[in-house]
Amino acid sequence: MTVAAGIGYALLALGPSLSLFVAVISQKPFLILTVLSSTLLWLMSLIVLAGVWRAFLPFKTTPSSSAWLPYSILILSSVVFQEGLRVLFWRIYKKLEDILDAFADRVSKPRLFLTDKMQIALAGGMGHGVAHAVFFCLSLLTPAFGPATFYVEKCSQMPFFLVSSMIALAFVTIHTFSMVIAFNGYAEGNRVDQLIVPVVHLVAGMLTLVNLASGGCIIGIPLLYCMALFTLLHCGKMVWKRLADSQNR
């Protein structure tokens, strides 16, 4: 694809993250560091998963029997692993929060505000989303510069790159905001919030299995966007409620 198209696809997947970065995260250096370390963490998780599954890929399937089962196991295991990693991330964050609070006391500055904590969660989620977008979408774009483009048979209405950017955008949204929901859920001990995040992640992952069927992406992608929208709305509602509560207190 041409360079212009390539840049277009890249912006499609990462545009909102970029604006979020410039508007919110680049103002505070600590958040930039959080994004970078979060991206590194998820990259390492991807590498571990790749290492584990290396021996089994590519799945040998006959054209008649589809590769539903092995792929679903793959997605299931990956999602479970990543959700476990999220809990670990939360624990590390708790320790960091204590250190930061102690430091704030020492330099006589106010402790972390609620919005600070949410911003850190947002930055962490963005790192996750960016890692996903970069490694699943962007890194496939760059070798493909040149005259032609690539179509997948199962989804032949659009070039492959466009489809993957759209999916990446949905996932970036889901990842970014579920981290906020998750951190909030862990902080307040809210079971619903805590469970919603892995469930959403799993459902989204499984939805992409629909893409294995021919023409499946026509159904799969809108449903994925429904999930992303749901995550956004839930996160917004939760944040609004939490802030209103802390104001009234």
């Binding site: 250096p29 600590f30 370390s37 290492g51 250190i99 490694f135 996932f171 294995l212």
Partner: protein, 430 residues
Amino acid sequence: MDQNQKPTSLLDTLGEEIIRILTPVSICMFLVVILVSILNNSSDSSGPSITTIASIAYSEDSSDSIWDKLKGALLNSLVFVAVVTVVTFLLVLLFYLRCTKFLKYYMGFSAFLVLGFIGGEIAVFVIKDLSFPIDAVTFMVVLFNFTVVGVLATFMENFAIFIKQGYLVVVGMLVAYWFTPTWVLLVAMALYDLAAVLLPGGPLRLLVELAISRDEDIPALVYEARPVTDHDSVPSNGEVQRRVWRERRHIESDFIDNVEASSESNPVGSNTSNASRVSGMSLSLETNERERNLVAAEEGRVATLDSELSAPLIQHRIDVQLNLQEGPSDSSALEGIGLGSSGAIKLGLGDFIFYSVLVGRAAMYDFMTVYACYLAIIAGLGITLMLLAFYQKALPALPVSVLLGVLFYLLTRLLLENFVVQCSINLLMF
């Protein structure tokens, strides 16, 4: 969401110094990657094929077997490290004999060479690739001016800091593109750096001790991050400002502006009550008076220094200049991280170059490796900064980042790529 007047939060300025070092490193790497992709895309062998010190013992031939290539690479690396060691000792000798003027002039000269010749050659390649219409005379004039300003920037002290930093980044980028080593060489250099800085007999350590004992500066090309406050009254770069002892004098507003001293507990957890520790972002300095309150001009923050903390702040840097076309390399790469006199973090240009070289090498394969290596290098840099805060002496910046970078490159290339491509082709993502 909230009302506009909110008390400034802790999060506003934490970690700012690290970002100020990360940004130019990232820019340099980014530029090298772009350069590599432009110039390696077009044709395979139009790039510069040079016999440098890096390949003096053995030039790779595609028909050789793997074992031969490995042997050749090892031989190359040994020769290179040996040459670098010899030259470093030579530098130590010169410094000992107080030939600092010579070193300074030599640095300016190498800056001239790099900017003029290497920059010119790379510019010619780029122009040829992009079919940029420019005539020879204009090109010469522009190049000459560019080079001269660059040399002046590295020489003079009170130069506009932004231009100076920009030029350092450009120099780093040019050398990084030119110097394409093998992976074995990178690892060898990392190990050498580790040895040279930390071992008692290492040349770099000798250099640092000499400089301290004489209370002199080492002429070198160093990148110093801008001090956190925007007040730049302390000249940076060009000359290494070496600070052994930092005395807090009475409040001169200039002076305080340049000091960002916030005590911060070390994330590793050793939180002593007496000594204010650092975590790579700023350094509590030795004070003559106890209980001083520093007011950082920007934020109006108040930091209390609890006690005296001796902070030998050492940095030393000599740029790696591989004098490629004129014969054997003249100076060696000394890498290390230290703290500048204004409290900002200083990073040697050699480090810039090696990081960019690593990323450039990764770019020759694929962009996925580039992202992975970039993250690994940044992580390595962060770890080194934390160690710097912990140990508070000159540390080699190269080993952690290079080793992590190489590790991630291999892992990505072998494991991740296959996995991700398999999933993405089937439009399966999670």
